[in-house]
C-alpha cells in the first residue's frame, strides 16, 4: 500500500472528519429538501388565486380609503380634534390604482432553475469550503499534536514528501466529495425545478455557465482545504488554523470594516475578504459609493462604482495559498520535530 493510499485511509478513518463531512452534507440536504417543499409550480389555478388575492387587497384598501375620506369630511364638518390628521382637501384622499396591486406578489415561490441554481452553488461552496478548511486543519493538526506525525516520520523520513502526500490525499478526497456533492445537488435542484418550478431555458450555454461556476466552487473548496492544512501545519496544531481564521474574521474583517466605515473610506467592501470570495463565485461584484455623484445625460446622479472581478480574487487567493503553503513547507523542512 502506498503512502498516498495510507493517508487516504487515515483520512477516512478519522472520526472528526467523518462527523464534520456528515454534518456538512446534512446541512446541504436540509437546504435542498427545504427548497423542494417551499416551492411549487405556478399554473392557471395559482395565477387565478393570486389575482383574487390582489383584488381582495385592492378592495380592502379601497374600503379603508373611503372610510378615511368619510372621517375626514365628518371632522371638517364638526371641527373636532381629529381634523389635524387629515389633509386640507378631503377629496385628495384617493386609493392607489388597481394595477398597483400586482398579481406577482401573491404568487407562491417557484424555483426557476436557470435563474436561481447559480446562487445555490454559492451556498453549496460555502458549506463545503468550511468543511474543507476545518477538516484540512484537523487532518494535519491532530497528527502533529498527538505525535502521529513524528511516528510517521520515523517510518518515512522524507518530510516534504510526507507533507505533500498528506496534502495530496486531502485534496483528492475533497475533490471527490465536492464533485459527487455537486452532482447530487444539481440533481436535487433539477428535481425541484421539474416538480416545483421550471427548468425552461436551459441551453448548452446555461449549462456551461453552471459548469464553470461549479468548477470555481471546486477550486475554492480545494483552496480552503489547503489553507486550513497549511495553517495547522505551520502551527503544528489544529487550533492555530481555527484561531487564526477567527482572529482574521473578528479583527481583520469586522473590526477593519467598522474602522474604515468611520474613516469614510470609499468602497469599504473592497478591503473585506468575503467580497473577493463572492466575486470569485459570481465572476464580478460591483461596489457602489452612495456618497458620490456620477452625472448622467438626463441630469440624474448615479453612485460611483468599483468592480471586483474573479481575476482580482484569483490573485488574492494565489498569494494566500503561496504564503501559507510555502510557509508550511519551509517550516517542515527547517524546524526540528520535538
Amino acid at each position: 500500500m502506498s503512502l498516498f493510499n495510507t493517508e487516504l485511509r487515515r483520512l477516512r478513518k478519522r472520526r472528526f472528519v467523518r462527523y464534520l463531512t456528515l454534518g456538512g452534507l446534512l446541512v446541504l440536504a436540509a437546504v435542498a429538501v427545504g427548497m423542494f417543499f417551499t416551492n411549487q409550480k405556478v399554473g392557471p389555478a395559482q395565477i387565478a388565486a393570486a389575482e383574487r388575492a390582489a383584488d381582495r387587497e385592492y378592495q380592502q384598501n379601497l374600503g379603508y380609503m373611503r372610510q378615511e375620506q368619510a372621517a375626514c369630511e365628518q371632522a371638517k364638518a364638526t371641527g373636532n380634534a381629529d381634523v389635524g390628521r387629515f389633509p386640507p382637501d378631503c377629496s385628495s384622499i384617493q386609493p392607489p390604482p388597481r394595477e398597483a396591486f400586482q398579481t406577482d406578489w401573491h404568487l407562491p415561490a417557484t424555483f426557476e432553475f436557470r435563474e436561481e441554481f447559480g446562487s445555490t452553488l454559492i451556498a453549496l461552496t460555502a458549506v463545503l469550503g468550511l468543511v474543507a478548511f476545518v477538516g484540512g486543519a484537523s487532518f494535519i493538526g491532530a497528527e502533529w499534536s498527538t505525535g502521529g506525525m513524528m511516528n510517521l516520520l520515523l517510518w518515512r523520513p522524507q518530510r516534504i514528501r510526507v507533507l505533500l502526500t498528506k496534502l495530496g490525499a486531502l485534496l483528492s478526497a475533497l475533490s471527490g466529495l465536492t464533485v459527487v456533492t455537486i452532482g447530487a445537488w444539481t440533481a436535487a435542484f433539477w428535481a425541484t425545478g421539474t416538480y416545483r418550478g421550471s427548468t425552461e431555458g436551459m441551453t448548452s450555454g446555461a449549462w456551461q455557465s453552471f459548469g464553470l461556476t461549479g468548477l470555481r466552487g471546486l477550486a475554492l473548496v480545494l483552496i480552503a482545504g489547503a489553507l486550513g492544512f497549511g495553517l495547522a501545519s505551520l502551527g503544528r496544531h489544529t487550533a492555530l488554523a481555527l484561531g487564526g481564521v477567527l482572529g482574521v474574521m473578528v479583527v481583520g474583517q469586522f473590526g477593519l470594516g467598522v474602522v474604515l466605515g468611520m474613516a469614510r473610506v470609499k468602497f469599504v467592501e473592497a478591503w473585506l475578504f468575503p467580497t473577493y470570495l463572492l466575486a470569485w463565485m459570481q465572476k464580478k461584484v460591483t461596489l457602489q459609493n452612495w456618497a458620490s455623484c456620477q452625472a448622467t445625460y438626463n441630469g440624474e446622479c448615479k453612485p460611483a462604482t468599483f468592480d471586483i472581478t474573479w481575476q482580482n480574487s484569483s490573485i488574492l487567493l494565489s498569494v494566500a495559498l503561496v504564503l501559507v503553503l510555502g510557509g508550511a513547507i519551509w517550516s517542515m523542512r527547517r524546524r526540528d520535530v520535538t
Binding site: M1, E7, R9
Partner: protein
C-alpha cells in the same frame, strides 16, 4: 565486529532569545556493535533523546557524523530506515484509533505486509485489546504498542527509549526476555533506560552520557571494573583494631577509607600485601574481598547525580566530562526534555 551504529562528535545547540544558547550535545560519540544489547544511559536532560531524535532525522545536528548499518545518516536515512525500528520518548499515538488501525496504517506507510500487524500484536500481548481505541490503554499498554510499532518492520537495529516505562513487574520481565530473544536472533538493540538494574542485567555494553558528552562506554563488565577502583574491603576480628590497621596500611603506601566496621583499602599491588602487613602486627583479617560496584553507583558517580541529604538537585546539575559538576546557570548545559 562491525558497527551497526556510529556517532562521532555529534553537536546540537539550541538558541533562544529568552534562554540564550544551550548546547544539548557537545561532541558526543557512540558506537554499537552488531548483535549487542546496548544500554544508553544518562540523567534527565543529558542529551539521550536529542541523540536518538537526531539519529532518526527528527532534529538537525550542528555538527558531527552518524552512520547506521554502515550508511551515513541523515543522507541515507530514507534507504536505511526500513531496517531501523524505533520508539522515541513516551509512546504517542492518535488516541481515537485502535492498536490494529495504528499499526495497519504504519505498515501501509512503510510497505510492510499487513499480516505482520497480527504477529507483533501477539508478540507484545495486545492481541485481545487490538480493536480497542488507544485512548483506553494504560501507559504500559501504550508502551507495548510502541514496541510493537518498532518491531513491525523486523528491523536489524531496534532503538527503544525507556521501553519499560509504565510496565508492571511482569511486563518488565517480558520485555527483558523479548530483548534477549531479539538479540539472540541477531538483532541489535539500543535501550535508553533509567532502570539501571535492568540494563546491567540485559545489556552487553553501555554508553553513559552527561551534559551532551560521553563519560563512559564499553562492555558492562569493563565499565564496572574501571570504576570499582580496585579496592579491597577489609574486616578484622576486633573492630577496635581498625584504627591501628588503618595506620599501618597508610604507612605501607595504601589509601584507606575507614568505615564503621571495616576498611576500604585502595592502591595496594595485591591482596596478600594487606594480610602480610597486618599479620606482622598481630592484626588478623576476618574478611578480605574486592569492592564490587553496580551500574547504578557507577552511573551516579560518573554523572555526579547521587542525592545529597538536604539538597535538591536540579535537572541540569550533572557531571561534565572531567567529573566536575555544572549548574543550570552555565551557558553550556543540558535541559529538561532534551
Amino acid at each position: 565486529m562491525a558497527a551497526v551504529l556510529e556517532i562521532e562528535g555529534l553537536a546540537k545547540t539550541y538558541r533562544s532569545r529568552r534562554r540564550g544558547t544551550r548546547r544539548a550535545l557537545d561532541g558526543f560519540d557512540m558506537r554499537v556493535e552488531a548483535g549487542q544489547v546496548h544500554g544508553f544511559l544518562g540523567p534527565n536532560g543529558s542529551g539521550k533523546t536529542t541523540t536518538l531524535r537526531t539519529l532518526l532525522g527528527l532534529i538537525r545536528p550542528n555538527g558531527g557524523r552518524m552512520a547506521i548499518l554502515g550508511q551515513e545518516v541523515p543522507a541515507a536515512l530514507p534507504t536505511v530506515v526500513g531496517q531501523v525500528g524505533a520508539i522515541v520518548e513516551s509512546p504517542q499515538f492518535f488516541p481515537h484509533f485502535s492498536a490494529q488501525d495504528t499499526l495497519s496504517l504504519l505498515a501501509g506507510a512503510g510497505g510492510v505486509p499487513q499480516q505482520r500487524v497480527a504477529e507483533v500484536l501477539e508478540l507484545v500481548g495486545l492481541r485481545e485489546r487490538a480493536k480497542d481505541r488507544v485512548k483506553t490503554y494504560s501507559l504500559g499498554m501504550k508502551q507495548r504498542l510502541a514496541v510493537a510499532s518498532a518491531l513491525l518492520k523486523e528491523p536489524k537495529l531496534l532503538i527503544l527509549d525507556e521501553p519499560a516505562n509504565g510496565l508492571d513487574p511482569g511486563g518488565i520481565r517480558e520485555m527483558r526476555t523479548l530483548m534477549s530473544d531479539l538479540a539472540a536472533s541477531g538483532m541489535t538493540v539500543v535501550i535508553s533506560s533509567h532502570i539501571l538494574a535492568e540494563v546491567q542485567l540485559i545489556c552487553d555494553s553501555v554508553t553513559i552520557i552527561s551534559l551532551g558528552r560521553r563519560v563512559a562506554f564499553g562492555p558492562v563488565a569493563q565499565v564496572l571494573a574501571q570504576h570499582s577502583g580496585g579496592g579491597l574491603r577489609v574486616r578484622l576480628e576486633a573492630v577496635t583494631d581498625l584504627p591501628a590497621a588503618a595506620d599501618l596500611l597508610l604507612r605501607s603506601g595504601a589509601r584507606v577509607t575507614p568505615q564503621d566496621d571495616h576498611l576500604l583499602v585502595y592502591e595496594v599491588d595485591k591482596p596478600a600485601t594487606v594480610t602480610r602487613t597486618l599479620a606482622a602486627a598481630n592484626l588478623f583479617v576476618s574478611e578480605l574481598a574486592p569492592v564490587t560496584v553496580d551500574l547504578e553507583s557507577v552511573f551516579l558517580q560518573l554523572t555526579a547525580t547521587a542525592p545529597v541529604p538536604g539538597q535538591h538537585r536540579q535537572v541540569d546539575q550533572s557531571a561534565v566530562v572531567d567529573g566536575t559538576s555544572s549548574s543550570s546557570s552555565d551557558s553550556i548545559s543540558g535541559g529538561w526534555g532534551v
